[in-house]
């Protein structure tokens, strides 16, 4: 995937995060994980995944939903779904 395409996905993912956490100042990067954001627990995780599925028009497998450890993994998964 080109850097450009990945950057776009990251930008759109960041917007989803800012919406879900109601924080327009929130900055995320590949390494951002639940450890970095207080309210990112397992239930919030589902909210994030649902929001990302809607944003990108993709569907995650049951086993994929919980397997995303950080934002980088999310962006990778999103891009593979968009390609496929």
């Amino acid at each position: 995937m080109t850097d450009n395409a990945r950057e776009t996905i990251m930008r759109r993912t960041a917007r989803v995060f800012r919406d879900i956490f109601d924080d327009d100042e929130l900055e995320i990067g590949n390494a951002t994980s639940a450890a970095d954001i207080d309210d990112w627990d397992s239930l919030m995780h589902v909210t994030l995944v649902v929001a990302l599925e809607k944003e990108f028009g993709i569907r995650l497998k049951a086993s994929e939903i919980g397997a995303l450890d950080n934002v980088g993994a999310m962006v990778d998964l999103i891009s593979s779904k968009l390609k496929g």
Partner: protein
């Protein structure tokens, strides 16, 4: 409104609400959110608004303690129901059982549920909670499966009710699965999963009625969405979400509206506009003849919307009109247009003037002695909607799509009129049920058409074209398309002239039966030429087909022809794009075909003017007026 613009509006609304809140304008902040967020709003933006709203203190909010008991994970649902409730000034304090522990929670008198001391215990069950008893079920026991499940639920209800005096108990109907073990027959075979589930829901509702428990129709919400969108196995397997978490806002909205009803805050009245809301077009410009109502796709859509409003009225919702129109023009169209389903009796307050709509609504509220927060406003004009939202934030102004086909849904989906039950005083609704039941009984008792028609107790009137009836006759002649033998289009003045002519006899006909009065439903023009009487015009409403009005009218025309000294009755059928229905009417009534033109026009003749006593007619005649 495209999806993007709706999402943008939601974003702006939240930003605006935050500004209002920062300025201490709490009611304005909530009103802005109420005006933009709907059950179909964007999931992320709903969650965002919910998060912000939950983080703030709302000074006028009253608390409501609700325990949600069910086997699935409901966290997004609970966040969003809290959001919706806060828009109505209710602060949710919630308790959720942990997964399948809900049964223990209910039965454990010393446990956290009872320490929480809720106002409402909501059995937020979904189909997987009902599964334990349903499968596998030996066919012989299938009949008892539903009953035993209900009995268990009854124990849970009484456990809560006995330990929490005065608690309200709500019970979900459970959502069906889209998949069916027995395929198509799963809903009907004794041990079919769907059959058992439906029986369970039905028995549950009966038991609830006996136990003072309120039902919440989760099954219907699932069906509205579509079972395949509702059921999301991936999220069940991952985290035990019993339905697609993205639908949480939608479910929470409807749950909140039921709670709002329990708090007595449901809407009680609607103010509607006229032009392009109850009919197509602008009556002031187009005239009564030019508005679209009854015919064509839009005409039917507007009529359907009127029908929906009429149903709301019959269950006790108040309807008022606020229209920017000349009063006479508006009243005239409302009263006389044949396509109207609503009539003036349905309208509690009718305001047609050139004043500001917000002022009109204020006056309507004052006249009805109802708070402005009891009102819903429906208007096709976005500018009027904006004005009323700004001036009267406590009124719920609904969005209307540009297509009138969508009007009923636009109003219905907002679930603004939920109730806690049918009160003993709600006689209008009782009357409606009664009439329906009588109709059903009449239909099932009749073993043949004749008996059915006799059972309708029909009576008809007829009369001459006096001033009172001339408008209506003009409408029929000009609006009827299907049952119109010659598609004449006489204006009122022309009909007046014909009525005065010694060679013409004009008649109107009306019909009523034991269920109601259909009003004037047919108009005829008979021309006398020496020994021949010619049916120049015969227009009839399609609402009264195949009941015998055709025969009734023919007998009247025969009588008139004989009375004028004629010996033969002529009828013509001129085909149009829409009147194929009556191509063979004269044939069926016993006329002989005398001629046919290349264009398809047919000439018919009935002679001599025989007594038709042998033909059954179930319509009695009221006195000629």
């Amino acid at each position: 409104m495209g999806e993007d613009t709706a999402a943008e509006a939601e974003r702006r609304a939240l930003a605006l609400a935050k500004e209002h809140y920062a300025a201490g304008e709490f009611e304005r902040a909530l009103a802005v959110l109420r005006g933009s967020y709907t059950p179909d709003s964007d999931f992320s933006l709903l969650m965002r608004a919910a998060r912000w709203t939950a983080s703030k203190e709302w000074p006028r909010a009253t608390p409501f303690k609700i325990a949600f008991l069910g086997g699935g994970v409901l966290s997004q649902f609970v966040e969003l129901i809290a959001f919706w409730l806060s828009l109505y000034g209710i602060r949710l304090d919630s308790y959720c059982s942990l997964y399948d522990a809900w049964r223990m929670d209910v039965l454990n008198g010393d446990g956290p549920l009872y320490r929480f001391s809720p106002d409402i215990v909501w059995f937020f069950n979904t189909r997987r909670d009902a599964r334990t008893h349903a499968s596998p079920v030996p066919a012989a026991d299938a009949g008892y499966a539903a009953e035993s499940m209900v009995n268990e639920q009854r124990k849970f209800w009484s456990s809560a009710q006995s330990r929490l005096p005065g608690v309200g108990v709500i019970q979900n109907s459970v959502d069906p699965a889209p998949e069916r073990g027995y395929g198509n027959l799963d809903g009907f075979i004794a041990d079919g999963g769907l059959h058992i589930l439906r029986k369970y829901n039905e028995s549950l509702a009966s038991a609830a009625a006996d136990s003072g428990v309120m039902m919440f129709d989760l099954a219907h919400l699932a069906e509205c969405v579509g079972l395949r969108f509702w059921s999301d196995p991936a999220y069940w397997f991952h985290s035990k979400h019993p339905f697609s978490p993205g639908l949480s806002g939608f479910v929470a909205y409807h749950a909140a509206r039921q709670l709002v009803a329990i708090r007595g805050l449901s809407k009680k009245a609607i103010v509607v506009d006229l032009d392009n809301t109850l009919w197509g077009g602008v009556v002031g410009d187009d005239g009564m003849d030019g508005i679209v109502l009854g015919d064509g796709p839009d005409g039917q859509a507007y009529q359907a919307f009127q029908g929906y409003l009429k149903a709301l009225i019959s269950r006790g919702i108040v309807l008022a009109v606020a229209s920017k129109n000349d009063e006479r023009t508006a009243t005239d169209a409302f009263t006389n247009h044949p396509g109207m389903l609503l009539d003036m009796d349905d309208i509690a307050v009718f305001k047609a003037n050139w004043r500001n709509k917000a002022d009109n609504i204020r006056e309507i509220a004052a006249t009805l002695n109802l708070g402005l927060d009891s009102f819903v406003f429906v208007d096709d004009n976005p500018a009027e909607r904006d004005l009323v939202r700004r001036e009267l934030p406590m009124v719920d102004t609904i969005e209307l799509p540009s297509d009138p086909s969508g009007y009923v849904r636009a109003l219905d989906r907002m679930a603004l009129f939920e109730t806690v039950g049918v009160s003993g005083e709600d006689r209008a609704r009782a009357r409606m049920y009664k009439a329906n039941a009588a109709r059903t009984i009449a239909q099932s008792a009749a073993t043949n058409l004749g008996e059915y028609l006799r059972g309708l107790e029909m009576s008809a009137s007829r009369g001459t074209a006096d001033d009172f009836h001339l408008s209506r006759m003009t409408q029929l002649v000009n609006k009827s398309n299907q049952f119109h033998l010659t598609t004449t289009r006489y204006g009122k003045a022309e009909l007046e002239t014909l009525a005065k002519s010694p060679d013409h006899i004009l008649r109107w006909y009306s019909l009523s039966d034991k269920f109601g009065d259909y009003g004037v439903i047919a108009a005829t023009v008979l021309r006398i030429r020496s020994l021949a009487a010619i049916i120049d015009t015969w227009a009839m409403s399609c609402r009264v087909l195949e009941r015998g009005m055709e025969e009734f009218i023919l007998r009247d025309l025969l009588g008139l022809a004989a009375g004028a000294g004629c010996e033969v009755l002529h009828g013509t059928y001129i085909p149009s794009a829409k009147n194929g229905l009556v191509a063979d009417l004269y044939g069926r009534l016993g006329f002989s075909l005398r001629g046919k033109s290349d264009a398809g026009t047919t000439e018919w003749e009935l002679s001599p003017l025989t007594d038709r006593g042998g033909i059954p007619l179930y319509i009695t005649s009221k006195d000629i007026t």
